[in-house]
């Protein structure tokens, strides 16, 4: 068990170190998220659709689309110089490899979300006072599931001829349950609805995370045996 944890953190640490030293992907993902927010503001008819009405959807489109950029990079990184072969030769289990990649991707996507949220408040005038913890919890629950599926699909897509196109095609259907749940919760939180209306959706998000993290963990080794 100790070995597994050490291996997981070693792999996640490696990915994050690459990221911190180059910073290209993180900066691009943040710029992308900011641009999506700006475009959304102009992609609505200001006279008939208020910023507030659109706010929950904008937040989640921005989160998930910039998350996808992050996922694309996860295994593309290992493609160069056949780094993946080196990883597979290392004496760590395939599960540790998946969990390490997953943790690094989670850290990446959470960072993007943490920076996007204040920008969102600024651009869309959303009043988050009193619901920040609720929004953060929702973000964590909704993100944890789709990043697991995305990490797995990233390993698949990187082997295809048009990885940038294949990943969204595969991941988007899986984004629907978390996005619907997260938007429902966010809209109710912003409207100050009682906790009882939210709890059910949060449970679905948590169940989604539990199921997909487990299934992805079980399926990942099948992708890696050569």
């Amino acid at each position: 068990m100790g070995d597994l944890v050490r291996a997981v953190f070693a792999i996640a640490g490696k990915d994050l170190r690459v990221e911190v030293r180059s910073r290209t992907a993180l900066v691009s993902a943040l710029a992308f998220a900011a641009l999506v927010l700006v475009i959304f503001n102009f992609a609505r008819d200001a006279g008939s659709v208020s910023r507030e009405a659109l706010a929950p959807s904008v937040l989640w489109i921005t989160f998930t689309f910039s998350g996808m950029i992050a996922l694309n990079r996860s295994f593309a990184l290992e493609r160069e110089n056949a780094a993946l072969d080196g990883l597979l030769l290392a004496p760590v289990s395939r599960s540790a490899l998946f969990l390490g990649k997953y943790l690094a991707n989670l850290a990446f996507v959470f960072t993007v979300e943490a920076v996007t949220l204040p920008l969102f408040v600024l651009f869309f005038g959303a009043d988050l006072s009193g619901v920040v913890s609720g929004i953060v919890l929702t973000a964590v629950l909704a993100t944890a599931g789709f990043v697991a599926v995305g990490t797995l699909f990233s390993a698949i897509a990187v082997r295809t001829r048009f990885a940038e196109l294949m990943l969204p095609l595969l991941v988007l259907p899986f984004l629907i349950p978390p996005v619907i749940g997260a938007v429902q919760v966010t809209a109710r939180l912003l409207a100050g609805r009682p906790m009882s209306e939210i709890l059910g959706w949060l449970k679905i998000l948590a169940l989604y995370d539990l199921v997909f993290v487990t299934v992805c963990l079980l399926l990942f080794p099948a992708l890696m045996d050569e």
Binding site: F153, T160, M166, L170, P173, I176, L219, A222
Partner: protein, 232 residues
């Protein structure tokens, strides 16, 4: 002709025979639905689409489940035939979800007053359709047969796991879709004549589904026997 190719030919013939039976039965469904089944009081004639729409949805879901199960078995047994079977089911599933997605709006226009609405069940079946498409696109983008089989099996299994979430969200999202009337906890609330037509149609569609999958599977085996398999 090698024995392998001969066997594949037999499979294709059986598949085509099943397709012929299914098409005949489907013809019978049209006659029974239009001539011998009472007209629904509130919806009138458009309700007849129910008899071709619901079985298509059933077959699409069934095909999806088959893809998932064949994918699990493939990862376990690593038999290339299971991969071919999953691919055949996915292709047939794509056909049936197309039928489901075209008959739905045809019914929606007179009854709901709109071709398309972002009703939860509609949206999710659309996404199942996209999942089938993604599965097919992935197969087309991978060349090594072993890799293609493993990767698409993983996608097939994940797709099957997604289906229960589809159903879960259906019941929680505000919807205008008719609630289940046959498969629900209490007994079916459909008059016998209508239920009979529906069951007949379900049978015809299921036979067609089996026929399509068998034919495609046989064709794949034949191509494999001739050593030219590059099934997309």
């Amino acid at each position: 002709m090698t024995p392998e190719a001969e066997r594949a030919r037999v499979v294709v013939r059986r598949g085509l025979a099943l397709v012929a039976i299914g098409l005949l039965a489907l013809g019978a469904v049209f006659v029974v639905a239009l001539r011998f089944t009472p007209i629904e009081r509130f919806q009138g004639l458009p309700q007849k689409i129910f008899y071709v729409h619901v079985p298509a949805a059933w077959c699409a879901l069934l095909a999806f489940t088959v893809v998932g199960i064949a994918s699990i078995l493939y990862l376990w047994l690593r038999d290339a035939r299971l991969d071919l079977f999953a691919e055949s089911a996915a292709s047939a599933g794509l056909v049936f979800s197309t039928v489901m997605l075209t008959t739905g709006p045809l019914w929606g226009k007179p009854i709901w007053g709109t071709w398309w609405t972002w009703d939860a069940r509609l949206t999710f079946t659309l996404f199942l359709f996209f999942l089938f498409l993604g599965y097919r696109a992935l197969r087309g983008a991978l060349h090594d047969p072993g890799e293609r089989a493993r990767y698409s099996a993983v996608v097939g299994i994940l797709g099957m796991v997604l289906v229960p979430f589809v159903h879960l969200t259906v019941y929680l999202f505000p919807t205008v879709h008719p609630q289940p009337i046959v498969l629900k906890p209490s007994s079916p609330s459909l008059p016998w004549e209508m239920l009979r037509t529906l069951l007949l149609s379900l049978t015809a569609y299921t036979v067609l589904l089996i026929g399509f999958v068998t034919t495609r599977y046989g064709l794949g085996r034949g191509a494999e026997a001739r050593g030219e398999l590059d099934a997309g």
